[in-house]
Symmetry: C2
């Protein structure tokens, strides 16, 4: 494959996405096209490449298409792709510093660059006063599982510090105390927090969020949860707060949460570890107009955002910062004779394997380095602001057709969440109204001109429009709206005819 062929394949893929953004294949399509067993003899690359185009591409959903509006984006760019290519060329396992010093050192440096660009408090810098720092994980789920394990072990260590290290008494006390621990999130928190609790072997409670609070977790909700949990003899030790929830991009109420925690679980032993999950919206902190959100992050313990969502860096690339790196290393550090080396023994180097669940690691900092240098801070700010503008534009269009649509939330960080309305369904039950909006969602996705995802907030079935993919322009947003208007008119008129 030379660069021309590469370019052609990329162009073909983009053209295809214009035609049908979501794959139309049926489950099991590929099994019918491929042999049951690997070939005995090697095949020519030309035959393999033909199969990519004929058998794989039809089974792809086109995440880079300007008509991909589902979930959150997974955005790429040429420097992002070059980062993956060089990482592939420099293939290695990277589980300690000497495995390739550049892999470790570039990671520390670009995570410091990003911490500064996002105006994170100095406690998250690698040379900050609390000995914190950043690390690249694959996904926010891994980041959250990792900090929850660290939070659990920090809490247990502090609660058992009076017992002799290495003793059976200590091990028993830890195991018993662990059985009482409760991790917290809200009902709008991404499922990653619940899954992290399942992995870490602790209980999980979701604090309800309410429409009247804008689906934010508040201090009062948290107070009630902590009080109830403690009344049962259980111990809350961890909380995920979200900056940009999955459903609606709401931001939990950091101030009231901080105030309640200061009262119920003040800093020190017994405190709750608070992790800020900013998987999608966190990269917006690169714009000064959002940096008021960074200011109080030093009250919390860790923060993650995904460069692979909105920041043009190939999947996977979730960046995580902790206020004190020792918390990770104490929970996740192990060693073997075979891994010993003078550099690690010297304590002068970072072995990032102790900051994460996996053992080895790819050279993922390259793609961040390439993206940040190619766009510059100003270019990345312009990228974010462009999409924020498209969100406002789309919400503005929606408001021009109140005979068809009602905004449920937003626009927030480019995301607008809306439902159908109109005289055809006036007075219908919530369930019936939900069914009509679901029909719109299904009809539009089946048509395949645009691809949307849905959610349920406060009992309302709603459609999410999130136009923050790399190639989207104002004309596309107008087109999305036109597609939705035509489908909505059709769906509502059919509803009218058949009665609900």
């Amino acid at each position: 494959m030379d660069s021309n062929q590469f370019r052609e394949a990329a162009v073909a893929s983009i053209d295809e996405s214009e035609r049908h953004v979501v794959s139309k294949v049926e489950p099991g399509y590929l099994r019918k096209l491929l042999p049951d067993a690997a070939p005995e003899d090697g095949e020519a690359w030309a035959d393999i490449q033909k199969d990519i185009e004929v058998k794989i591409v039809p089974g792809l959903t086109h995440w880079q298409s300007p008509n991909f509006l589902a979930w959150f984006p997974c955005s790429s760019s040429f420097p992002g792709m070059l980062g993956e290519m060089w990482s592939a060329a420099f293939n290695g396992a990277g589980f300690n510093w000497i495995c390739s010093p550049a892999v470790t050192e570039l990671e520390t440096i670009v995570l410091d660059w990003l911490a500064r660009a996002f105006a994170l408090p100095e406690c998250y810098l690698s040379n900050g006063s609390t000995h914190g720092g950043g690390v690249i994980h694959g996904t926010a789920s891994e980041a959250i599982a990792t900090v929850m394990v660290a939070a659990r072990d920090k809490y247990l260590r502090e609660a058992t510090s009076h017992l002799a290290p290495g003793s059976e008494e200590l091990e028993d006390a830890i195991a018993l105390k662990r059985s009482k621990l409760v991790a917290l999130g809200s009902t709008a928190t991404h499922s990653a927090t619940q899954k992290a609790a399942m992995i870490a072997g602790v209980r999980f409670r979701a604090v309800p969020v309410r429409a009247e609070d804008g689906y934010k977790l508040t201090g009062e909700g948290l107070r009630k949860a902590i009080t109830e949990i403690r009344a049962k003899g259980l111990e809350p030790f961890y909380l995920t707060v979200t900056l940009g929830t999955t459903d609606t991009c709401s931001i939990d109420d950091f101030d009231s949460i901080t105030a309640v925690l200061a009262e119920l679980a003040p800093p020190g032993p017994g405190e709750l570890w608070v992790h800020v999950d900013a998987a999608y919206a966190g990269v917006a902190l690169i714009c000064p107009e959002y940096q008021h959100l960074s200011q109080n992050l030093d009250k919390f313990h860790s923060f993650n955002t995904n460069m692979h969502k909105w920041m043009l860096t190939n999947f996977d690339c979730s960046v995580l910062w902790v206020r004190c790196r020792r918390w990770l290393i104490e929970a996740l550090g192990v060693s073997l004779a075979i891994l010993r080396n003078d550099y690690t023994d010297s304590g002068l180097v970072t072995d990032y394997r102790d900051w994460q669940i996996p053992f080895g690691r790819r050279f993922r900092s390259l793609k961040i380095w390439f993206v940040v240098r190619t766009y510059g801070i100003k270019g990345l700010q312009a990228h974010i602001r462009k999409h924020i503008g498209f969100g406002e534009m789309f919400a503005g269009l929606v408001k021009t057709r109140q005979d068809l649509f009602e905004i449920v939330t937003g626009p927030r960080f480019a995301l607008t969440v809306f439902k159908l309305q109109g005289k055809e369904i006036e007075g219908a039950t919530l369930e019936d109204q939900n069914a009509v909006t679901k029909t719109l969602h299904d009809v539009v996705n089946a048509e395949g001109k645009i691809f949307l995802s849905s959610t349920v907030v406060g009992g309302v079935f709603a459609i999410r429009h999130c136009p923050s993919t790399p190639f989207v322009e104002a004309e596309h947003v107008k087109h999305h709206f036109q597609v939705l208007v035509e489908a909505a008119e059709k769906v509502l008129s059919r509803t009218n005819n058949t009665k609900i």
Copy 2:
């Protein structure tokens, strides 16, 4: 960057590795070469590319070099790299089937191909009688953490099946029982198992292995451990057995282990989940002469091997099979309204996010597909046999110089573990002998012609020689030996002069 530049960069990297396989930079080298903050304005690619060559390449250790003999290999190939490139081009998050059906379906198909190629029992096929199947994880550590969580929850579910689902009583019973669980490995098991226990929040015990057993875990050792643990009121629920340990590539004694488990923890509720960690050596099962090792794997619960170690597939690519996929999904499956779609609801598709810790996933099956098709089964068998031959050749050379070297273990799966011996250190204490072998190790690595790792087995400090990188040839192996002989003569003669 066009293909010529790419080729040049790759060649330059290989040339560099001939000169110095392990990076010579000092800790902190890169911080001095890069600015403290990201640039405000974008930079030209030419400037970035120059920095790769000037600032990054000197900080790389060359894992593809034929003189890289440390740890286990992390091997690449052109089809492996092409797989990464296409995966980067098809960038997406892949957390469920409709995210890109091809990502899920190709994974199922190539994992079935590999299961057949490795002669795994039919219970590991996606359409096998026990509803098992394979999945791609990043590293063996993730695979082991994942199956340990699944094993923990399977054990707890079975032990509490008499309690009402969703009740507080059930939650309390599970939490209390969890505090008694013990995961087992041996003292030769990779640290990944201990780390998995730390993540899963369970206790860990390493069963000692002995030189007279060839550093294998045996049924008798396991019997003693289980009996002692139970005597303390604790409950063993999980065991890692290893096919090719990290230190010496030993294979645990599957037959005696199976017999002891049949007696102490027979199949059914209360059984121990046995995971087979074959991270390095498992790919050798592609050769019929090793497939007797596959025969009884249906007695165990899961199996993993790393395609990125010895099988030419870019890092990361650890393949994991389970005998029953429901075990994973019950432990790791969660859902959100935003993720709902008709395909998932239909139950006809696989959502691999429920088989793993991360949420999203890359299109990693492409690189397996490309590698297996390009080489064919026969080509991959030849690849493995070539390295097995080099291991035998090296061990043969070592035996010609018994005045300098003694083999500690091997050759096994190309790995030879050896130490210094000779009249100069005859009668010296073990500690002093170890110090001399460590000096040899350090001298050779500092010289930089070849790069080795060391270990300690049965109290003996030993050097590992593992020549299974992609470009190694017989001439290289002779060269490795020559480098070692020259250094050993120097080290021993110095030892002689200064007395130990």
